[in-house]
């Protein structure tokens, strides 16, 4: 069975894709002297806190697609579904540093944790202050009592949005970190997987979802979820996914939220909207007010079918930061 995908050498998909990104979007991406680090062209900006992220490839537009004006300044790019190296994180930090320190906002995975930790140490040795926020918005990955074990998923986008806007607004490093931390603390996510995906270098699916079934709580790399159940209509699926998010009690009636619905890659866009309509309906019933919604392929997993739901509760500060303009491949806002 041949892999029916659009690639050259399956071992060089990341390199090849980076070439394309840089060729297509010089307005967003400058190369650095690390081939796995891209930066926003006008970075570093003196006096502005630098925003760095990084993560495995295959989640496009995450992570590099959120490099842009008022969002991420530099990104470290890993292999498919695998953390970037410590060296890449370090060079991204160096690229983003404008003298006001660097906020490294990334997701809670063992590899990323270790590589960022090593990079932060080396950055300190090079005179760059780096502080971190680790996204852990995925309610399916551990109980609330072990929140530090939860994965970071599409909520990371809202963390970058808020952190990037704070940095652009002139917050200092501690301020940016506090805002980004609040964003992710106020955020809850969950995913549902309907089909698997194939890493080109592997050549076959590394997990399986039986036809007619769905995996509730699936991770962005196919990590198994809470439960495998028969496929539900969009209406029930929305309820199933909202349940563990709403039980945590932070989205009470009257609260204002941002909702982000992302496809996992192969789900037709119109279905994300069919799904969103059901989420919207339930939230209205519960008296939760949607201040802003994002629906689309914001954080994917190659060609998996499925959907993730993220919600962030707003206060006045977060609302201002979420509403601020942004200009990146993955998110553009007036």
């Amino acid at each position: 069975m041949k892999l029916n995908r659009i690639i050259n050498d399956p071992n060089l998909v990341v390199e090849d894709a980076i070439e394309g990104y840089v060729a297509a979007h010089p307005e967003f991406f400058s190369k650095t002297n690390h081939e796995r680090v891209l930066k926003y062209p006008s970075i570093p900006q003196q006096g502005k806190v630098g925003i760095v992220t990084g993560g495995g490839s295959g989640h496009e537009p995450a992570f590099l697609g959120y490099v842009g004006k008022n969002m991420v300044d530099a990104v470290a790019i890993g292999e498919i579904f695998s953390s970037p190296t410590a060296g890449a994180f370090l060079d991204a930090m160096k690229a983003a540093d404008g003298g006001a320190g660097v906020a490294c906002l990334y997701g809670n995975y063992a590899g990323d944790n270790m590589n960022v930790k090593m990079a932060v140490k080396k950055a300190a040795a090079a005179g760059i202050t780096v502080k971190t926020v680790v996204a852990n918005d995925d309610v399916a990955s551990a109980p609330i009592t072990e929140k530090e074990k939860r994965r970071g998923v599409a909520g990371e986008i809202l963390m970058w949005k808020v952190g990037g806007a704070a940095a652009a607004a002139g917050y200092d490093l501690d301020g940016v970190i506090a805002a980004a931390q609040k964003a992710i603390d106020n955020c809850r996510s969950i995913g549902v997987g309907l089909s698997s995906c194939i890493i080109p270098a592997v050549g076959h699916p590394n997990f399986n979802i039986d036809n007619g079934m769905m995996e509730v709580g699936i991770g962005h790399h196919g990590e198994p979820g809470i439960n495998v159940v028969p496929l539900q209509p969009a209406k029930e699926m929305a309820a199933t996914m909202l349940e563990p998010i709403l039980t945590e009690g932070i989205f009470e009636a009257g609260s204002e939220v941002v909702v982000l619905v992302s496809g996992l890659g192969a789900t037709p866009t119109m279905e994300l909207y069919i799904y969103y309509a059901e989420v919207d309906r339930i939230l209205k019933e519960k008296g939760v007010k949607v201040h802003r919604s994002y629906v689309g392929n914001y954080f994917t997993s190659l060609e998996m079918m499925g959907v993730t739901l993220s919600m962030m509760k707003l206060d006045d500060e977060l609302k201002k930061l979420v509403d601020a303009p942004v200009h990146s491949l993955g998110m553009v806002q007036g």
Partner: protein
């Protein structure tokens, strides 16, 4: 009479390690596929192959060759394996700098140092279902064997047994670390991929050293 391992070219020993990983690429990914994301063999083989291109044909001390291996992983692959094995091999490399002959005590120091470098970066404990379940018993039994006055060869074989037992022990464990930890009880019943690659490496190291005992 104290036995020593004589290492003419450290590249040969590291090439042994590279070969055992590269030839088990698909096997390791398959194991990782059961409860992880199916890429362990790919990640490992990629890093070890990078090292191969860097050291092939060179003459290096074992310390230097291991440092190349560590750099190849840390800078070449990232993920978890970059820092984890990178730290282990840094630990090994650092403690035998400049040496071309290794005593039992040297090897013991090397193994212990790798373990402690790993502990600096990973909180993993025995029983967590990860490479530590292979590495720690291997190191500890080698230490004990040296303390008990076993021969170099005996100590290496005791270590190999412990590594294999450690690897096998992961089968019945519930993962507490890494991607598989999200699975809870569902992670039981299969070997851990990292524990398996670690067993391959420790075993190969033992074999490569044993072959050079003078």
């Amino acid at each position: 009479m104290s036995e020593v391992v004589v290492i003419k070219n450290g590249v040969d020993v590291v090439n042994d390690l590279i070969n055992v990983i590269v030839s088990n690429r698909d096997y390791l990914s398959e194991i990782d596929g059961a409860i992880g994301d199916g890429d362990h063999g790919i990640n490992m083989a990629k890093g070890f192959n990078i090292c191969k291109t860097r050291i092939d044909g060179k003459e290096l001390t074992l310390s230097e060759a291991l440092a190349e291996l560590s750099d190849s992983l840390m800078e070449g692959i990232g993920g978890s394996m970059g820092p984890l094995y990178g730290c282990i091999f840094t630990g090994w490399s650092d403690s035998i700098q400049g040496k071309t002959e290794l005593t039992k005590e040297d090897v013991q120091a090397m193994l212990v140092n790798g373990m402690s470098e790993l502990q600096d970066i990973s909180p993993a404990q025995k029983g967590d279902k990860c490479l530590v379940d292979t590495l720690f018993p291997a190191v500890e039994t080698f230490q004990q064997a040296v303390k008990d006055g076993k021969t170099f060869k005996e100590a290496l074989n005791i270590m190999k047994d412990a590594a294999a037992k450690g690897r096998d022990s992961t089968k019945d464990l519930v993962a507490k670390i890494g991607r598989a930890s999200r699975l809870g009880e569902r992670s039981k019943g299969v070997l851990d991929a990292g524990a398996t690659s670690c067993c391959l490496l420790v075993t190969q190291l033992a074999d490569s050293l044993e072959a050079r005992i003078k």
